[in-house]
């Protein structure tokens, strides 16, 4: 008589519905786009601000000064500061001085009366310009003098260099690393909050609209929960991957390959931890939704979860290094704190292992516990339930 058999992969259908409903919402699309644009824009802006190429125009008098500016332009100081020097030729020192005064040039390099050179600035001489020109002057003149005296300059200067090395080098580009770390934390917090509330709401709405009774008669309740977790995790991970890709793409476009090499692994671990942490959190949000009788109740039933999210956040931003280390290994909080540490410091492998292992175990336990509560509370449509109350409910 009946041609229907219960769907074995019902959770997949539930997940599919979660996704297809959500991606059709304008607010969702706009949210994703805004986040992507913000992150990509921030990367571009940061890159522009930190390493902006600049050009200094130097007024010169005489071919020698012109050659010195050229030397400075190719020198180490100019390269490290991403500055280039361009010589503007003038006939007399007075004309060069006038050009500085009229701000036609940034500085002037003129022969000094005592045979050396004089660097002229308006109110001051930019320190990079001063260093670069001074170095170039001494290099050029030394070479010229050495040639005149028939001395091999390289022989003369052999052994005069001193190199510096540090035992515990601070990572390069500290600011950039902290920025990446902060973005990761905020991205996790925001995504979990936004998607979490969405999960809780969709569960409560199903309760409120009573469609849950039909669903429960059609598929096992755990399939509903798994479908919700799977669908929303896919969405959230998709969004975060999109954001990371946008950020990395923007960085690549700006030529920040060195920096990406530094933080790349922390981004990968971030995605791994994000996936695990999100699954665990999604379960909690779904349970919170199942405890509420109406959408208004969600605020109070999700309060403990919000605490769970913000305690490590506050601990890290207000606490000390030890606290950060501890929170980077506590399950779920590790999702947020560990990638941050990975971006800014060298983390022992065992600590990363603890963070990932702990979060896997926590996610498994929470899903199990979540199914238990969810199955008991989902069909209680009368009024709001407490966590303890839900746990003590008999299986109906």
């Amino acid at each position: 008589m009946s041609t229907s058999t219960p769907a074995r992969g019902a959770w997949r259908l539930v997940a599919e519905r979660e996704i297809s409903t959500r991606v059709r919402e304008k607010s969702f699309i706009i949210g994703v786009l805004v986040t992507v644009v913000l992150v990509a824009g921030a990367v571009v802006a940061a890159s522009l601000l930190s390493g902006r190429a600049s050009t200094s125009d130097i007024a010169v008098v005489g071919p020698e000064a012109s050659a010195i500016v050229q030397t400075a332009d190719g020198g180490a100081i100019a390269t490290s500061d991403n500055t280039s020097f361009e010589a503007q030729e003038y006939n007399t020192a007075d004309e060069a001085e006038a050009a500085v005064r009229d701000e036609k040039v940034d500085a002037a390099l003129v022969p000094a009366d005592d045979g050396g050179f004089r660097i002229i600035g308006l109110t001051e001489v930019d320190s990079t310009t001063e260093q670069a020109l001074t170095a170039a002057v001494s290099e050029t003149v030394l070479q010229a003098n050495a040639a005149q005296l028939d001395v091999d300059l390289s022989e003369l200067s052999a052994g005069t260099t001193a190199t510096t090395s540090v035992l515990e080098p601070a990572p390069e580009d500290d600011g950039g690393r902290y920025a990446v770390a902060t973005v990761m934390v905020i991205l996790f917090l925001l995504t979990v909050m936004i998607f979490g509330l969405q999960i809780a709401q969709s569960v409560t709405q199903e309760k409120e609209s009573r469609v849950v009774e039909i669903l429960a008669a059609a598929v096992p309740i755990r399939a509903l929960l798994w479908g919700k977790i799977a669908g929303n995790t896919a969405l959230a991970l998709g969004q975060v991957v999109l954001v990371v890709v946008a950020g990395v793409g923007a960085a690549l476009a700006m030529g920040e390959t060195d920096f990406l090499g530094d933080v790349g692994w922390s981004l990968v671990w971030f995605l791994v931890l994000f996936l695990l942490g999100f699954i665990a959190m999604a379960t909690l949000w779904a349970v919170a939704g199942s405890l509420a009788a109406r959408v208004q109740d969600i605020n109070s039933t999700t309060l403990p979860i919000q605490g769970l999210l913000f305690v490590p956040y506050l601990a890290v931003f207000m606490g000390n290094d030890t606290m950060t280390e501890v929170f980077s290994m506590i399950p779920i909080s590790a999702t947020m704190v560990m990638p941050m540490r990975l971006a800014t410091e060298t983390v022992p492998v065992w600590q990363l292992g603890v963070a990932i292992g702990g979060t896997i175990i926590a996610a498994a336990l929470l899903v199990k516990l979540g199914v238990r509560i969810y199955e008991r509370s989902l069909l209680r449509t009368g009024n709001k339930l407490g966590y303890r109350e839900a746990l003590s409910l008999s299986a109906d």
Partner: protein
Amino acid sequence: MIDVSSLSRQFGDHLAVDDVSFQVRPGRMTGFVGANGAGKTTTMRMIMGVLAPSAGEVRWNGEPITPETRRTFGYMPEERGLYPRMRIREQLVYFARLHGFSRTDAASRADDLLEHFGIVDRADDLLDDLSLGNQQRIQIAAALIHRPAALVLDEPFSGLDPLAVDAMVDLLRREAKDLPLLFSSHQLDLVERLCDDLVILSGGRLVAYGPVEELRGQGADRYRVVMDGSDAAWLRDLRGIEVRDVDGSTALVDLDGLTPTELTRAAVERGPIVEVSRARQPLSEIFREVIR
């Protein structure tokens, strides 16, 4: 056949359903009647497995019912439930697929039901944008979407206008001709018109159960006598009957020894008559009697 066997359900100190047993037989519409709070919805939710019984069990074709079997049932809960912000066709397809239909089968089944209700042109509307009557139609369509093996419908006709009721009855007769079908209703005239079997609950207890005809037969042999103009009060003096009511030329009597033929003969001898007819006891009266 759904076999409800000594089902009880306790909520705290309150015994909502108390040792209720009845059967829902295939091919027969079984009406489920009772005052508010009599335990109808609780019983139906236990049949559907949405609520666990405190005692007793539900059997399906002689075997204890399993969740897998229940999923082949069609269910319309008392509190209507569908996704308000989802397109109706998509919604029906979703429910069909949850029940294991392929995408194409689900789509053609959904279209078939929408067509029956004449709302194909609203297929892409959100449920919310439909009139209450149409929403109800979608609700019943959702219960029927997976070609269920049995139907449990809680108040399927409430809130429908007479035409909508007819359309739904047509659909149920077409779709559920050979299925066990249990439906609850407050509209006793409707139950009377549709049902083959009747289950009456009162205060959580089963107070009447059986084929409607039999239940009606349980009442006395009641006849209506209408005289042509003359007063019917003379019937009070006739032996072998008990007069329930006299109103001008019309009287309602219970036979108590007299046969219908003898009653008719006595009336004809008395004067011109309009009719002597069996007064079938309306369901509402049976209902009032058994729940008293």
